[in-house]
Symmetry: C2
Subunit: 175 residues, 2 copies
């Protein structure tokens, strides 16, 4: 007579490093840690929910060298974003399938920290897992941190999982 | 062929409310949540470590009405602190015993946030659990928050568990 599975919401992000597989280092680290240390062999006791928040037109850098000559050109950008988001989620859903833990995944657009907290209100998970780059105070000033915001504002317990030191890329702002 | 149990360090504190049983509301909430949502039926997969940090002579208030006439009088204060700390840990060790999960508990003296991070370095748990009163920014200015410090500085994943709204005492600084 086990109770309902523990519902874990994982906020996952794309890697910022060109040519890198799609999931960021901190997202993959947070996921693998959750499986290894929390879920363990009790795969039926947990249900994982993956939320990927896409920042609309983040800073325009990706499109600096693009030429937009027709409405179709914008559509192709949107289509490209969609495909990247799907690849990211596919990675995690495949891993869950291999491990045998039930999951669900979806994409939202907006400011990640706000969307994550709004989705916590909507979905009411038991636990929110966020990866963190573990940036120092100097780096934090420029990039803000989603994890800090969520720890303060999300209406459920939050676990922050820092990236391992040996996985930090040359520029720690990358992920 | 399960791997080593997941080692969870829980930082637990005394209640500040007179007459209340010894464990603070947020410590008990964090513990019960961990059992219910993380450990679940997998009691052999987890090992709980309880750390209680006693602030030496916190603000002297407790002793304002005491009269110290001999070295013995100071000893009796120390003895009283020791007994209160033991009662606190006994509560959690008893609960673990009832549930059937292995545990260990100890007391340290010092500044809670610093001692907790130092103990994480020493014990190297897989996960640190800290309860939080979920204070607003105005209240935070005066009381600081141990949980925020630990999320930033502890060298392991940290889960912050806010006190439930319906368990918040009249003065939210109390716990």
């Amino acid at each position: 007579m086990e109770s309902e599975p523990t519902r874990v919401l994982l906020a996952v992000s794309e890697s910022t490093i060109r040519g890198y597989p799609h999931a960021s280092i901190s997202s993959r680290g947070a996921f693998e840690w959750t499986i290894q240390k929390i879920v363990r062999s009790n795969t039926s006791g947990f249900r994982l929910h993956f939320l990927h928040v896409q920042v609309p037109d983040e800073d325009g850098f990706d499109d600096v060298d693009s030429i937009f000559a027709s409405p179709e050109d914008f559509k192709s950008v949107k289509q490209r974003d969609r495909i990247r988001g799907l690849h990211l989620l596919e990675y995690f859903v495949n891993r869950c399938h291999e491990i045998g833990v039930a999951c669900k995944a979806w994409i939202k657009k907006g400011d990640p920290k706000e969307v994550i907290c709004r989705e916590v209100q909507r979905v009411q998970p038991d636990l929110l897992v966020v990866g963190s780059r573990g940036l120092g105070p100097f780096q934090r000033v420029f990039v803000g941190t989603v994890s800090e915001f969520c720890v303060k504002h999300a209406e459920c317990p939050v676990i922050t999982i820092k990236r391992r030191a040996d996985e930090t890329p040359q520029d720690p702002v990358d992920d």
